[in-house]
């Protein structure tokens, strides 16, 4: 998928901006605070109906403005054009229009325009808490499977309901309501087991791609390994039925603690992913540089996974990732972005001179944000 043009109204720093993009590499440069990252954020909105920086739509609204609007013209690899419009009004929420037709549920649209974001925060995937890793894989699988996204939404709702029930039992010190809890448990286990199963299948495919990605960026990382041990057990889990059985047993075992704490204590919402490097856990033993390289490799692997699954080259959004890389890495990464299977990329950088002679005369497209906005509006 390629974005040809974007127009922003009252979005973050942009009062009204129109930008045209090159189908290959795009460098967006300009001083801090001129809204470079906001452009990537707006493109991300058009792909996944949300920001990659905040979960609150209000924060991206330009200060004091009554609404914001983003319009993007996309073109698929088969030449189909797709015009996406997202408008947000506080109090009324977000509305999504695809080729002029209102799409009532965001989940019906997510996945049509695959996207991968590279950001300086990517090291948190390996260095941060388990929720970062869950979010990482959930975002990828959701973009490639509508059923997975639907299951995630249903699982969250079930979890909320079940926790509320456990809480109310705790508050009132009332009866255990074990029949009602077990009804919620059954729904939790039904949906949760499907989620765990999808994650296991995903990890199987993803490890191969991660291996490849590490080799491509010529990193010092040897034998990266990724594990997913659901339900904090060591059992080798096979099909959904088997997972259901294990999940129900685990829930039964922690039933008493759940009543005490008023919280659901087992399930895919508490699982973690483990990364290893030459047999050592990355989270504890990797250097900062290794976390960064690992983050880069994970995102490249994400790109390959989406390309394989969705069969449409994802958009690449690279937010200030080059500032922390040395010159050799920048060169290597650039040559990867130039490979034929890579689609369009939008890159922000405070200064374009860090790219040096890497920027060819004709092949690349360079947007100086001050000039672009001034000239095109």
């Amino acid at each position: 998928m390629v974005i040809k043009r974007i127009s922003l109204k009252q979005f973050r720093a942009h009062e009204e901006s129109v930008l045209a993009f090159h189908p290959g590499l795009n460098i967006i440069s300009g001083p801090n605070g001129t809204g470079k990252t906001n452009i990537l954020e707006a493109v991300h909105y058009l792909c996944l109906t949300k920001s990659f920086l905040t979960s609150n739509d209000r924060y991206v609204l330009r200060h004091g403005a009554p609404f914001f609007e983003i319009i993007g013209d996309f073109e698929s690899s088969t030449g189909q054009s797709l015009v996406v419009r997202i408008a947000f009004l506080p109090g009324e929420g977000k509305k999504i229009f695809v080729n002029g037709v209102h799409v009532p549920r965001a989940s019906d649209f997510v996945g049509r325009i695959p996207v991968v974001v590279f950001s300086p925060d990517d090291y948190v995937i390996t260095a941060g808490g388990p929720e970062e890793r869950r979010r990482f894989i959930d975002t990828i699988i959701s973009q490639s499977s509508r059923i997975y996204l639907d299951d995630l939404i249903r699982y969250r709702r079930t979890l909320k309901q079940r926790n509320e029930l456990l809480q109310s039992i705790k508050r009132r010190r009332g009866p255990m309501h074990s029949e009602q809890i077990s009804s919620w448990s059954r729904e939790l286990v039904d949906i949760g087991s499907r989620i765990i199963h999808s994650r296991l299948l995903f990890i199987e495919r993803f490890s191969r791609l991660l291996d490849e990605a590490c080799r491509r960026i010529g990193s010092e990382i040897e034998e990266p390994r990724i594990f997913y041990r659901p339900l904090s057990g060591d059992a080798k889990l096979g099909d959904v039925e088997e997972i259901k059985e294990v999940f129900s047993n685990v829930l039964q075992k922690c039933a008493h603690r759940e009543w005490e704490r008023g919280l659901t204590l087992a399930g895919p919402h508490r699982d973690d992913l483990h990364f290893e490097l030459d047999g050592m856990p990355v989270r504890r033993f990797a250097s900062q540089g290794q976390h960064r390289t690992f983050g880069l490799a994970l995102k490249l692997a994400q790109y390959s996974f989406l390309l394989e699954t969705v069969e449409e080259p994802p958009l690449l959004l690279l937010d200030d990732v080059f500032d922390n890389l040395d010159h050799t890495r920048i060169g290597l990464f650039f040559s990867i972005l130039h490979e034929s299977e890579m689609g369009q990329s939008l890159i922000t950088a405070a200064r374009k001179d860090i790219f040096g002679e890497l920027l060819g005369e004709n092949s690349d497209h360079h947007l100086d944000i001050r000039e672009t906005i001034a000239s095109e509006v």
Partner: protein
């Protein structure tokens, strides 16, 4: 700003309390009412009062009715050994419109939802059990909505009904009739594939 008619404003206020009616629509409705002949307005007003005064819940199935028991429960033509359990009276109307169901109903009055403070004791589940216990029921169809609350309520009821020797079923989920595979969303299509049936 000054209102020229306090009565108009009051009616706008009242209309806009109804679901899906905003202030703009409320104004349009009021403008229309102003142009209606007086006898028609009277019909509308008395119809509103009548639903409050005359409509009661059937003491057997708890749907809305003017007579107790309701016409469905008291009909000799209906098969009273099959009960279809639904959430709201509106669901009874929906299933009746199919002309494909000849059993009777049981309206729960909602679904289990701790977030809304609704537990099984707030629904008419005890009454359903009493019906199954006291009359010769052979099948219970759980016609609740296919969301997590509906699923859980269905599990909960089916567990309570397990000791009785009756058939328990749930409505199938899948592609709408007359729908087009191409335009069915992937989640629905995926579930329909999962619960495919042999031919």
């Amino acid at each position: 700003m000054q209102f020229t008619s306090e009565s108009v404003e009051t009616l706008v206020e009242q209309f806009s309390r109804l679901p899906t009616i905003g202030r703009k629509t409320a104004r349009r409705l009021v403008a229309f009412v102003l142009k209606m002949p007086r006898d028609q307005v009277e019909l509308l007003a008395s119809a509103l009062i009548a639903v409050k005064d005359r409509v009661i819940h059937c003491s057997n199935c708890f749907t809305v009715t003017d007579t107790d028991p309701c016409p469905i429960c008291s009909s000799a033509k209906r098969d009273s050994t099959t009960i279809c359990v639904v959430e709201e009276p509106g669901d009874v109307t929906a299933i009746e419109r199919t002309h494909g169901y000849n059993g009777v109903y049981h309206v729960l009055g909602g679904v289990i939802s701790p977030l809304d403070g609704i537990g099984p004791e707030d629904l008419r589940i005890r009454e359903l059990l009493a019906r199954v216990q006291n009359s010769s029921i052979t099948e219970v169809i759980l016609g609740v909505n296919p969301n997590v609350e509906g699923d859980t309520t269905a599990y909960y009821i089916s567990e309570l009904l397990r000791p009785f020797d009756i058939q328990i079923s749930r409505l199938a989920r899948g592609i709408p009739i007359g729908g087009n595979l191409e335009f069915t969303d992937e989640a629905t299509l995926g579930r329909a594939l999962e619960s495919r049936v042999a031919v």
